[in-house]
C-alpha cells in the first residue's frame, strides 16, 4: 500500500515539478518581457520548426553519436584506471600528479593540440573529449575504490575468487554509487566539452549550431536546442539510469 502511494506520487510529483519549472519560466519571461528570455511557447514553436526542418535532429544525432563514443571510452578506461590506482599505492603515487595536471589542463588547450596534431578529424574530436573526461572518471572511481569494504574483499580472497570474479561480484556493486555519480555528472561534463570541441573544429553538431545562434543572439533557438538535448538526457535517465539504480539498489533496506 505504501509503495502504491509512493509510485502514484512519484509520477505526479515528476509532472508537478516540471509544471512548476515551466510556470516559473513563464512568469520570469513575462516579467522580463525581452527577447533574451523568450516564452516557453515561443521556444516550443522554434523547437518544432527546427525539428520539422530536420536540422535539429541532424545536429543532435551527430552530437549524440560523439557523446556515446567518447563517453563509453572514457567510462571504461576511467573505471579500469581508477580501480587500479585505488588499489595500488605505488601506481597511484606515480600517476597522481599526471592526474592533477590532466584534470586541470583547460579543455581549450587539449582541443587545440588534438586538432593541430591529428587534423580536424572525427577521431581527434573524440580524443579531445576523452582526454578531458577521463581524469574525472578516474578520480571518482579511485575514491570509490579506496572506500571498498575490506571485510568483503577478505571474504573473496579466502574463497579464492579470481581477479575478474572479485571485480564482478564484490568490487563493482560497491562502486555503483560512484559510477552513477561519474555517469550523471559525466554526461553533463562531456556535453560541455563537446560543445567546445564542435565549436572549434567541426562543421556540425550542437556546439557548432549553438555558436551560430549565439552570434545572432537567438536565445529562443539556443534554448530550443538545449532542451532537445536535455530531453534526450532525461530519457536516458528514465529509461536507463533510473531502472539501473533501482535494480542495483534493490537489496538496500
Amino acid at each position: 500500500m505504501l509503495t502504491g502511494i509512493f509510485k502514484f506520487n512519484h509520477t505526479t510529483i515528476t509532472l508537478l515539478s516540471l509544471l512548476v519549472l515551466l510556470g516559473i519560466w513563464q512568469l520570469a519571461a513575462s516579467v522580463a518581457n525581452s527577447l533574451t528570455l523568450p516564452y516557453p511557447a515561443h521556444v516550443a514553436q522554434v523547437f518544432w520548426q527546427a525539428t520539422q526542418s530536420g536540422e535539429l535532429p541532424y545536429h543532435l544525432g551527430v552530437t549524440l553519436l560523439r557523446l556515446l563514443v567518447s563517453f563509453s571510452i572514457a567510462m571504461v578506461l576511467g573505471c579500469a584506471i581508477g580501480v587500479m590506482l585505488g588499489k595500488n599505492k605505488t601506481l597511484d603515487a606515480f600517476f597522481d600528479n599526471w592526474l592533477v595536471i590532466f584534470l586541470n589542463i583547460p579543455a581549450l588547450v587539449t582541443i587545440i593540440l588534438c586538432y593541430v596534431w591529428f587534423g580536424l578529424a572525427e577521431s581527434a574530436a573524440i580524443l579531445a573529449v576523452v582526454i578531458n573526461k577521463l581524469p574525472n572518471v578516474i578520480v571518482t572511481i579511485r575514491e570509490g575504490t579506496r572506500a571498498l569494504d575490506k571485510d568483503l574483499l577478505e571474504m573473496a580472497e579466502s574463497y579464492r575468487f579470481e581477479r575478474k570474479k572479485t571485480f564482478v561480484h564484490v568490487i563493482w556493486p560497491q562502486l555503483h554509487p560512484f559510477v552513477m555519480a561519474a555517469t550523471r555528472s559525466g554526461l553533463a561534463l562531456i556535453w560541455k566539452i563537446i560543445l567546445v570541441v564542435e565549436l572549434l573544429g567541426r562543421s556540425n553538431g550542437m556546439g557548432y549550431q549553438l555558436h551560430l545562434f549565439f552570434q545572432l543572439f537567438d536565445v529562443a533557438s539556443l534554448l530550443a536546442y538545449t532542451f532537445a538535448f536535455v530531453a534526450v538526457i532525461q530519457l536516458i535517465e528514465w529509461l536507463l539510469l533510473r531502472p539501473l539504480d533501482r535494480k542495483a539498489l534493490r537489496w538496500r533496506r
Binding site: Y159, R160, F161, H169, V170, P173, R250, W251, R252
Partner: protein, 247 residues
C-alpha cells in the same frame, strides 16, 4: 603427518598512517594440526585468535615465520566462517552461497543445507532483511557447501538459539564424519568445545602463546551425553590449574 604447520616468530600490528602504536599480537607460536583433526582454539577476547585464522587463510602475510598447509599447498580449499557474516548484501541468500563456487554450484547440496539450517524459505531474500542469526547460518552454509579441505570457524554458533546451535553442531559433526577434513574452530564455550573437538588449545592473552594443548579423549559416540561433557569439564578444571583463570 601435519596438515597445517604453524611456526610464527612474530606478528606485530603496526597502525597505519599517522600514529605509531605497535601491538605484538603473536610471539613465538608453534602449532601443528593433523590431517582431518578437529581442533578448538580457546582464549581471552583480543588474544589473537582471529589474527591467527586470517593468517592461515592467507589473508595476512605480514608476519615473521611461516604457515605450511599440507601437501596441497595453495590449492587447498578453505572454508572460512568469519566472526561476522560477511555476506554480499547485493546478492540473495542463495546467490551468496552459489557465488563462492568456481564451477557450477551443487544445487542439491545447497538445497539440503538450506533445509537443514531452516533457511529454505528465505533463499531469495537479501541478507540485510535477515536477522543476524540467520545471516550467520548462511555464512556457515557457504563454508560447508564448498566441501573444504580446511574449515576455519570463528565463533560460528553465537546468535543461535540453543536448539539451532545444537542442530548446526550436529550437522557440522556429521559432515566432518562423512568427509573428513581439518577443522580449526574458535569458541568461548567450553562445553561446546569439548563436545566437538579432538584437541583443545588454550591461548594466552597477547602476545599470544599456547598455554595448554589438551586432547579430548571422550569417545565420539558419547559426546551427546551432557554428563560426560560436564565430567570432562570438571576434570579439566581440576587437572590444569593454568587454564583455570581462562574459564
Amino acid at each position: 603427518m601435519n596438515d597445517i604447520t604453524i611456526s610464527i616468530q612474530d606478528k606485530t600490528y603496526r597502525s597505519g598512517h599517522l600514529d605509531d602504536r605497535q601491538h605484538q599480537a603473536i610471539a613465538d607460536l608453534q602449532l601443528g594440526v593433523g590431517r582431518n583433526e578437529f581442533v578448538c582454539l580457546l582464549g581471552p577476547s583480543g588474544c589473537g585468535k582471529t589474527t591467527l585464522l586470517n593468517m592461515i587463510a592467507g589473508l595476512d602475510s605480514h608476519y615473521q615465520g611461516h604457515i605450511r598447509i599440507g601437501s596441497q599447498a595453495a590449492t587447498a580449499k578453505i572454508g572460512y566462517v568469519f566472526q561476522n557474516p560477511r555476506l554480499l548484501p547485493w546478492y540473495t541468500v542463495r546467490q551468496n552461497i552459489e557465488v563462492v563456487f568456481a564451477q557450477t554450484p551443487p544445487a542439491a547440496l545447497i538445497d539440503a543445507l538450506l533445509a537443514d539450517m531452516q533457511l529454505s524459505d528465505v533463499q531469495q531474500v537479501y541478507p540485510e532483511r535477515l536477522s543476524l542469526g540467520m545471516q550467520r547460518r548462511v555464512a556457515i552454509i557457504r563454508a560447508f557447501a564448498i566441501n573444504p579441505d580446511i574449515l576455519l570457524m570463528d565463533e560460528p554458533f553465537v546468535s543461535l538459539d540453543a536448539p539451532s546451535a545444537r542442530q548446526v553442531r550436529n550437522l557440522l559433526y556429521s559432515l566432518w564424519q562423512q568427509r573428513p577434513h581439518t577443522v580449526l574452530f574458535v569458541s568461548h564455550d567450553l562445553r561446546e568445545a569439548i563436545a566437538l573437538a579432538d584437541r583443545l588449545i588454550f591461548l594466552s592473552p597477547p602476545p599470544m602463546r599456547i598455554i595448554s594443548d589438551i586432547p579430548v579423549n571422550i569417545p565420539r559416540e558419547l559426546r551427546n551425553d551432557e554428563a560426560q561433557i560436564e565430567a570432562f569439564r570438571e576434570h579439566l578444571l581440576s587437572q590444569h590449574p593454568a587454564i583455570n583463570g581462562l574459564l
